[in-house]
Assembly symmetry: D3
Homo-oligomer: 317 residues x 6
């Protein structure tokens, strides 16, 4: 289907991400929108495997130009829906991660910047394995949870631990990692000790409103600087009033407006990829969480397109 689809009524046609063309070849694509329908790393409520499809459906509400920043991502870059990174063996967590990694390795090799829709948060690990093979990236991480937990239920690779493993494997630089929105009760007092010990900057909700969105944006830039940066947006960072369809909701989060403002504040970063994870449609009969996920994905797309163009120093992109 062609990009002109964006001019048609949004209730019509095939639902690709942002109504972009669907492409099976990666050639010539600048930014690939990718689904990762995997929830085998979930520790409680499941269903995020249905996230990509519902985000595709709701993303038909997105339009072409970012009103606030003026960024027109589809003009700046060639953007396509390049399909799903599918686990060959969804019944086994580690083998699933291998399949996902393998998909993203091809994406990276083709020079395509990936913006993904999960899936549970464990998928960020195989994505980072593909993206940060050579040297660790910086990480901007929106979430209610640090996701730097340890072994749980017989595995260290579940959706509560990807960023501990990512540090251990040298994929992210903990000193260039900022975690925003952390809250919720803890299994034990040391639950997020790894974040603190490894030097991550952790902004709990208590501090969130002290700093304010502007303060947080400054903090992000200070921590991350010029380093190539990955952005991961877990929708449970938002308050459940805005995103009830998620596996581990935690009361007391930030708003969608604050989320959008923070993502827009990432302007100037060197962005190498991003994801929106933990949208679990079965837990939201209104469909609104998938709309929120699609909106965050659009904002990530805009900021990534801007970053890409800035780095390529080329209008053609």
């Amino acid at each position: 289907m062609s990009q002109d689809q964006q001019q048609l009524p949004r209730y019509s046609g095939i639902a690709t991400f942002m109504r972009c063309a669907y492409e099976e070849s990666l050639e010539g694509i600048d930014i690939g929108l990718i689904g990762v329908p995997f929830d085998g790393g979930v520790t409680n409520r499941t269903g995020t495997r249905h996230g990509p499809r519902d985000i595709r459906v709701q993303s038909t509400l997105m339009r072409s130009v970012n009103q606030s920043t003026g960024i027109a991502p589809f003009e700046l870059c060639k953007v396509a829906d390049v399909g799903d990174a599918l686990p060959e063996s969804p019944f086994e967590l580690e083998r699933s991660h291998k399949s996902i990694q393998s998909f993203f390795e091809k994406v990276v090799e083709a020079g395509v910047l990936p913006i993904s829709a999960g899936g549970d948060h464990s998928i960020s690990l195989p994505i980072l394995r593909a993206l940060a093979k050579d040297e660790p990236v910086a990480l901007v991480h929106f979430d209610a949870h640090c996701d730097t937990g340890g072994d749980y239920l017989g595995s260290k690779f579940h959706h509560g631990s990807p960023f501990r493993v990512a540090v251990e494997e040298g994929l992210i630089d903990p000193k260039k990692t900022i975690q925003i929105g952390i809250r919720g009760s803890l299994n034990h007092k040391e639950m997020w000790k790894f974040s603190h010990d490894s030097g991550m900057r952790v902004i709990y909700m208590d501090e969130f409103y002290d700093l304010g969105v502007d303060g947080i944006i400054k903090e992000i830039h200070k921590i991350v600087g010029e380093t190539p940066t990955y952005i991961t947006f877990d929708v449970d960072g938002l308050d459940p009033a805005f995103a009830v369809g998620t596996g581990t909701p935690e009361v007391g989060g930030f708003t969608t407006f604050e989320a959008i403002e923070m993502i827009r504040g990432l302007t100037g970063l060197h962005i190498v990829g991003g994801d929106v994870v933990e949208v679990s449609p079965p837990f939201d009969p209104s469909g609104s969480t998938a709309l929120v996920g699609a909106t965050m994905m659009f904002e990530l797309l805009c900021i990534a397109a801007e970053s890409l163009v800035a780095r390529k120093d080329s209008l053609a992109c």
Copy 2:
């Protein structure tokens, strides 16, 4: 996307009808699966414009072979999702019908047999205008309502009247028309007089269980015979327990099992097209009505494929 998609997990990938390839060209296609996202002819509850997308999503639950009949439509024929018949001017009923007709004229010219998903029932009229240009077709019509009403709210082209107009325009032969499942209260005693006066065979629910499904199948064959036949399936023919997401639900309808049995009983007919209409997803938070719509569309596809092959007398189809 390729037809191989049917082997992937059904929660993955782009949602086309039955996970068929999406084709923008009609060339070489035997059966086209078509969405008609139009609900401008609705007299009460609206929302069927969202039917095609949700049917596409739920149709990913369909597989390749009909267990009961053994028909494998994708082997028998080249089947594709050929997109949506969109009204250029959705704000005006008659102009919308013109656009829809024009889409189907191209389909017919390309020799493609159309199986459509509505949309409200008024869309059957422009489809028939394209299909039955030269001579009237026979009609097998599953519905709670005869849809042969007259002027209402300033128009004669709404979703309660398409088959009256179709007779008046010579598109269907009323004597070769059978209407099955009729029930519900009437605005006035003569509401469906046109059906009776024009010679249609009307099977009310009272008679339905007297005849039984087998008796009804016989009746269909007797009425329709060898004439080229169009099949229209309004999901409100089903009891609301099976299809609550529809605009004009009428308590006391037939079951999905009975519906499937009736469609399978159409074997041997000369089928020229079919539609499944009046799926209104916003009125069914469980999504089940769209699944039912997808299932009926699959059954129509099977019976149409079989009919096509029988007529072409060709394995290549």
Copy 3:
């Protein structure tokens, strides 16, 4: 609002029962449609106080003429929505019943035949106290439960016992009482002993399909005969697939089609009133149970209108 409202689009206007005129005076009215928004007699899931309003809303889907029987109740009789029988003191069960009784006494005095929408099943008791003051009536009772239980949670007047009390108070004749659709597990083996001991005819679901709808209709006529008869329809008599929005759902009930057929089979009875109870909208996000309730109320209205005319032997009714 005037009766002409029935010609307007059904999504428009004020929602009265069947879009009838709302009348604060009872004068000249033949049949009064009445809401009884009381659920203080419920032993488990609550919410039937919201039944009358939602049934009013869904009853806008009803039209003027019964397709199957040809009865046109609004032509035969003067039918009006005469408002709600409100408990003055909803916090106390017995005082609430007194208020409801008092409302219905006025209705009966005015010569108005009441067709009511509950409310929980305990409301049938005060209605019968108003209707059967002088001599006991016969009872046709559709339900999953006999509702002839004894004291429970400190009261004998809850929604599981109205018909035991009605017998004890001489309001219904147990030998002219038939209970249809009984099923579900029992608190103790003797739970419905009163029904059997008092001579009621109890048709369990096991027997239901042995007799068939026609057999049951015959049985009703045999039991009830010419006696003035009250009809009470508890929507939990239906299978939960048809009426999930109810307080005490019991899997394995009859269908709406069977229910409609049974009500239509009451033709010829001497009907003095009827109710549809136990619609609990909060437990049905699709709204379908209230539509089912409205449909049953319409069928009761038709059969009551016919009975009334037959007895008055007068076209003016």
Copy 4:
């Protein structure tokens, strides 16, 4: 029904707007509460035709006195539910607008101030045609979208354009128009050019929190001054967390508290009418959006009653 209904339990009785008396005559009424169940101008998700009924139902939660401002609208003025402005020909956008206009012309002639519940936003155009026949009014416009777009899908009268047409027809004074809450992506960079070129004051969400609610109220008074003013409240101005049941939700809007504060801040304006539009109940299984719509309508009613009394300088109002 009489106004005393407001003393009864709010789950009881006929659901009129705010449980006001329903009046078919306009005589003697100061403020008319009006439903406009029309959604033929919608460009995406439909269903607002069901808004008036659901707002009526939820408005039974409203009481008599505004706690914050002390305004008691039903004491100050004679307020009635005067029914629905129905399109005679709902299948055609422009003819529908004519019918709606015609209804409001009678309202205006009778000296009744209209507070309406939509319906889609296109209905503001025929209302303004009735209200602003003689000279343009000022406009306070809460919305996520400027609704000053151009031709789309073959029409210039859809729900994305009423205020462009209203300027072109001289119904509103663009220099006395303020649009608040604008956000969401754009189809093209110039999408809201008309607002800017014509001199409207546009407050995007970016500016919203810079000004704060107090700043915005000041801005409204500055722009609008003493001019007779119409207020239009599109519920999609609110964040979807507060109003998910709408056709074109845009993440990142204001809260209901902020909305209420802004409406209360309109004290002192010369108000000639107002509407609450784009409540689409089928997209909100919880019913909350209609409650929000009812609340906004109540706040509009209070501020309008106050304005009316101030202008009439009469206790009798």
Copy 5:
């Protein structure tokens, strides 16, 4: 079941409050988590009898340690789910209150601090009758309504009046009572006169954002001081966006984050008990309101555990 259950996956096992051990004996327990499944005092939408069970289910999402305050309630105190305070006679309001009171008298006699989940707000009255037998307590009251109304529908003990009766019976000291979040329209101007006349500190939403959360916390401490204090949290104090599943939703409330911050600000008070009331699960298909209720209950538990330990001056608690 043992407390170790908190280490198991949260979707597993029997759902007790916070996955605490369920204890039928009160011996040795410091804090008892108690359900009060009673909604016989409700004046509008019912269903809070289902609150305790759904809060138990959602409370499995709670963990062991409060991230923000570091409080580990299950280490500080022996906490148990001690079951439900059941009305023996749920059909009569006053007798129901007696049963509830009697349950809490045993709790108080056993030296157990009660944290309860309602049920409608009328349950606070019998709880206070048990807790404040000897002298009045101070009250921190989060709510949209003052609940100091008078007789309504034949009773003075409904869910709109418990704190008036509590003052009249000397159970709470009105001068040491603070009510936070009050808003919504009024039945008459004097609706909350009792609060003002008796000397309660009432913080309307208008003032709420002027004071800010920090200002309110100071105000609470100023009003309540060292007096033994009861905390009552009505979820309708929250905006419906956060807690739609409640009986009397009022648009324009505080957020869950603000609620949590306020409860955490109660540190240092002498807490004798608390409740979370008016969670009505049937009105929230997403289940989110019960999650919010569970979270508030967890925060109450933490602050009560801290207060208990501080007073007992004992690590063993």
Copy 6:
């Protein structure tokens, strides 16, 4: 909690299966009700890990005595909720099955007959591994799918294959296996070849209504005879109108009434255990599927209790 709980209002108290006592020791128990919250074997829609909890909640609607058969299971046997069979390592399918098997081995060793609630259908395999260690059992299998598929997505142990593996491992005797309700489209014509080749008796829905429930019961007895028999009830055997909350719904199934009749018809069999699987609550906002699951579990319990008593030839059971 004690068994007396069954006398309390069903909305109160801790939700165990059928409100039975919860026992951590297996000693002295005849029949254990067990949850198996595992869905790691699912090939499409997930969520059955939430089945056991929701079935526990809805099972509070069950009472003590089977009305139709008179069986009083709690009098005949000691029945307890013995908790959940939890996978230690839920992220890996095969290791999960090992944990589940290990739980059931203890159950079998303790002489407890297990009636389980899943979880996905893959759990029947580890249960059978525990139950049928010594010799193969007969199998009565209600389902839309034969579940004798082969390798899929890298594993042979998923929820589409347990009974093929069970044959291969000698756990069930295919010649004493009957599969009832099979339907739905096929991935390839040979999808259920294994069932046919191994000698299972497969009753497709086509044949179902030819035989009728009585015919099927006879067929079951003929196939199974006196052999120790396991019963497995997949709720997707039911039509989605009765059980929409399931992972692989197939339109056109049997009704709950037919299901109950078939289970009751198993009287006289030698039953060694049973399960109800594939209840996925997130896909059913009404909660009805879990109620259906609880009802089927109750019917299994009754028939198992009867069988147990018959074999033990002992009133004490």
